[in-house]
Symmetry: C2
Subunit: 204 residues, 2 copies
């Protein structure tokens, strides 16, 4: 028998981390050598242990999974990264691939796919959630400008045009113009709807 695949796991919810670890440890050909609670911890573990595969969540404190992937791409190119996340957002997938990730897996896929994905990625293959890959193929690009994004974020948090204008040193009319533009671009019916849509696409 060949040596097991050595895996580092990164996930900020301790119980989910422990559970995923238990799940992978059930596989005789896979060995979880470190459980990291955030991206920073994972980065240092990878440096010390040089695993074969890294499985990481995206939204974590200190360092996100996407930042981690981007970092490892240059510092440890031999380590193959799988992003494991709740979010089926084409914007995230795009960023993950740009960061050199070899896999993008959703937490609502069956548990068996995790080990299988680790094996595939270890063999040098790519594993992209099929539904999301299809969607990303013809997904619109982010139509928002940087200003529109800034303003939409704040509007989505319940700030008024006046407050946003003050905060960003703009006139109130300008803020309303940007929001109107964003609403039109996203086909939304008001600022809140627009913020919601942008969030689900991973553009905020």
């Amino acid at each position: 028998m060949t040596a097991p695949i050595r895996v580092v796991l990164a996930e900020d919810q301790a119980m989910v981390l422990g559970a995923l670890s238990a799940l992978l440890e059930l596989e005789p050909d896979i060995s979880v050598i470190f459980n990291a609670a955030n991206g920073r911890e994972a980065l240092s573990a990878v440096g010390r242990l040089t695993p074969d595969v890294l499985v990481t969540d995206i939204e974590m404190p200190l360092m996100t999974g996407l930042e981690l992937a981007a970092n490892l791409r240059t510092s440890h190119p031999a380590v193959r990264t799988i992003i494991l996340t709740t979010f089926a957002r084409s914007g995230y997938l795009r960023r993950a691939l740009d960061a050199g990730a070899r896999g993008y897996l959703l937490k609502d896929r069956p548990a068996a796919e995790l080990a299988e994905s680790v094996r595939r990625v270890h063999r040098g293959l790519r594993v992209i959630d099929p539904a999301l890959a299809a969607e990303a193929w013809n997904a619109e690009l982010d139509p928002l400008t940087e200003r529109e994004r800034q303003i939409l974020q704040r509007a989505g948090d319940g700030r008024s045009s006046t407050e946003i204008a003050t905060e960003l040193h703009l006139s109130e009319g300008t803020v309303r113009n940007y929001l109107s533009e964003a609403i039109a671009k996203l086909g939304a019916s008001n600022r809140i709807d627009a913020a919601r849509i942008a969030r689900t696409k991973g553009w905020l």
Copy 2:
């Protein structure tokens, strides 16, 4: 040796569900007899299998964990329910306890606490996340009426007063009145802000 504790698990993210199941199955005195993907499935599984303990997430499609707990309290009072969730919201905890839950556990607690909590609850004890319990002690009560909650939910999704009025068979003025009330009660500056505040407290 006594018979193992029979557990039904409910969690909508399949991979997390499988992983938690694997984690509990590692314990010799615990046996996971059903994995449910939502509250409705869990409800029927409990009816068929009458487990000792139910471990359930809150936010799930078709039926939330809180609704499930409330339902089981009367239909199957012998089944002890543990809520396992990401959200440290005192409003959720309060609703969970009102719904007859015996445990409220956060997903960012160590993995070992899950099995331990199952055992304690099975022995008839309560298990409440200590930090959250302390916070809930002096947390404000939910000031919203049922109508206000319904309307605030929809407003927070970007629906206009008119749309909400049509959907709920109310007049537009009434919808605005309820929103105005909710905004005042929550000390918010507009409907969006109000929805945001209510959500972070677990009142939506």
